[in-house]
Symmetry: C2
Subunit: 216 residues, 2 copies
């Protein structure tokens, strides 16, 4: 029974890694679409974010089946409950990347990114892709130091997010309201995406170090 | 054992009702702060959204303990997994209302709402409060017709959200970028709040009617 359960936990982990990997791909495409006004990539990102939602729901069903069959307690139960939460985060990350792609889609053939914010969004997009790839790696290797390092990297995304507002609210911001709306929402989506990366990696640290209340 | 379990499920339900009730209060205060530039209410909403997060985490711990002690299957397991998701939604709703209050806080003593959007935001805030109160009611009585009715009411919030963009992107929008940023984010927060109401009420319908895959 124990071996069956271990195999099932591995299956859950493999699926989390796979979903996280496709979330990184969705963000790559969404970011390229947003920065380059690339409508084909925007459509791909939007389609992939729908598949991503289905994958996350299928994983939830698998976790519920394992809970029913194995009745795990203590750490094993925590792993499965955390898997449900990580799945929810990965689903949201795909949706947020999809929203960024939708902004690009909506503005096509124009661009949603004014020149004054191009480098900020380039860095933000690159960071979100990097963070998504790192979280995939951490889900695979459950390396707690790497998981903790990710949590620090999110700070730069928050800084860039604040920078977007500094630029938009400065006296020399001359773009029209459409640009203001687009960059406000996109920046929020990039920032929330990174928040979910932090949530997932803090769950990996917590499961690996066992720093939780085992009172049940 | 069965009676113990039923009592525990009631405890989970009571806590969900209690959290949902305070979420409605947070939105009432946040909405009043946002529309009236009331800094005291904004501070109350922000403080309550922090307490709300703690309450949601405490509920999650209770659910995990019940899962460990009772090893439920089938419908009982679904109820508890759904409780975890509803708790996550209620936590986010509190946070979103807190964000609305923070916008009001930040603009004080000015207002974040330009005259041209006042009636839209008044309706949006009133609707979100109404939806939060209805979802509390549905969590209490698990009335499936009422749960389904809520899902339709969210449409008006989406319509108001689109209306904010129509106003902001119209040629006669003359407000500065600060107003544009504030109303864009606030509208997004009001809309996401209502999305979570729909998620919770669809879980209530689903648990009450038993329309799920019982294959495990």
């Amino acid at each position: 029974m124990r071996q069956v359960f271990q195999n099932e936990l591995h299956e859950v982990q493999d699926r989390l890694v796979e979903i996280s990997d496709s979330v990184a791909t969705i963000m790559e495409k969404a970011s390229a679409a947003f920065l380059g006004g690339d409508v084909a990539k925007a459509d791909e990102a939007i389609a992939l974010s729908e598949t991503n939602e289905e994958k996350a729901l299928a994983l939830d069903e698998l976790v519920i089946k394992i809970l029913a069959r194995q009745s795990p307690v203590a750490r094993d139960l925590r792993i499965l409950v955390s898997a449900l939460r990580m799945s929810a985060s990965l689903e949201r990350m795909g949706a947020l990347a999809g929203h960024i792609a939708s902004i690009a889609r909506y503005r096509y053939p124009g661009s949603a990114v004014p020149a004054s914010l191009r480098s900020t969004f380039e860095e933000m997009g690159a960071l979100d892709i990097k963070l998504a790839n790192k979280v995939t790696e951490v889900l695979r290797n459950t390396d707690v130091d790497q998981a903790r390092a990710i949590q620090a990297e999110d700070e730069r995304v928050d800084e860039l997010h604040r920078n977007v507002f500094d630029v938009v609210l400065a006296d020399d911001w001359k773009e029209n309201a459409m640009f203001t709306v687009d960059v406000t929402l996109a920046s929020r989506y990039f920032e929330r995406f990174a928040d979910h990366v932090v949530d997932i990696s803090s769950k990996v640290s917590y499961l690996t170090t066992g720093e939780w209340n085992e009172s049940e």
